[in-house]
């Protein structure tokens, strides 16, 4: 994205996008835990949202990497979202609670992004 692009779409959009990415991955992992809630010897997994988000923010606020050679890989967020073991056996209540929370927070992210774009549109149209 060029300088102008960076100004129109600020880092909030990037963070929201990243947050939604993590939340969709987390939805997948939680679905898997629920599907396997009766499977013997199945260890549930989870995605530590806060940890990944912290890392993202730290990366973002670090001085932006400049590409000094066109063949260098671009800097940015690590695309990998790691999962970790979250217990010895699936606790269905806990998983359902996590699922609901994850779902609502995703909706909140989407809503925030929609508002952000609405503001942009308002400005583009000259406040009509």
């Amino acid at each position: 994205m060029n300088v102008l692009g960076k100004k129109i779409f600020d880092r909030t959009q990037d963070l929201l996008q990243r947050s939604m990415d993590i939340r969709t991955s987390r939805q997948r992992v939680l679905s898997s835990n629920i599907a396997n809630s009766e499977t013997p010897d199945f260890a549930p997994r989870d995605i530590p949202f806060e940890k990944i988000m912290e890392r993202t923010i730290a990366l973002q606020s670090a001085i932006g990497l400049k590409r000094t050679h066109e063949k260098h890989l671009p800097g940015g967020f690590p695309s990998e979202i790691d999962t970790e073991k979250s217990g010895e056996a699936v606790n269905i209540d806990q998983e359902m609670a996590k699922l609901a929370e994850n779902n609502l927070r995703f909706q909140a992210d989407v809503q925030a992004l929609i508002r952000k774009l609405e503001g942009l549109k308002y400005a583009i149209e000259g406040g009509k």
Binding site: R23, T24, Q27, R28, S31, S32, T83, I92, L99, N103
Partner: protein, 145 residues
């Protein structure tokens, strides 16, 4: 896309719980069957669940490793001979042995009913997870409207 994969995982959960329900229905329907084609009384069926990596799509293959960490679930129905058969004394019964005892299926109806309730709850949990994923997809379609 992760959300569609999430829906596939929930679908595999629904399928597995339906398999469990099938096994339970078979056991309940045959709780008193003292004669089978193979001879002898009916033997209880048991559903065995195991995690299974779902068939991958290209993006998942590209990102690798994702599937092992969030497997779906598969079900197999096998014969459960680990339980003892109950016997009742009924010399007039056509399937009674020479000593007058009839061997009953090794099905415990109370146990089956409890398993049935657990399977139904599990099925519902998977439906909820599926609907959550669907809701997320629909919500994200509103971006930029």
């Amino acid at each position: 896309m992760d959300l569609f994969q999430s829906m596939e995982i929930s679908a595999s959960g629904l399928n597995a719980q339906r398999g469990v329900l099938n096994a339970i229905s078979m056991n309940l329907a045959n709780a008193n069957s003292t004669r089978t084609e193979e001879g002898g009384p009916y033997i209880r069926r048991r559903a065995v669940l195991s995690p299974v990596a779902l068939p991958t799509r290209f993006p998942q293959i590209l990102t690798g490793k994702m599937d092992r960490e969030s497997p779906g679930v598969s079900v197999e129905i096998e014969v459960d001979e680990t339980r003892d058969h109950e016997m009742i004394y009924d010399p007039g019964h056509p399937d009674a042995g020479e000593d007058g005892y009839v061997i009953l299926p090794n099905v415990n109806i109370i146990e089956e009913m409890v398993n049935l309730m657990a399977a139904v709850r599990c099925y519902e949990a998977n439906v909820t997870a599926f609907n959550a994923a669907k809701g997320m997809v629909l919500k994200s379609l509103e971006i930029g409207k």
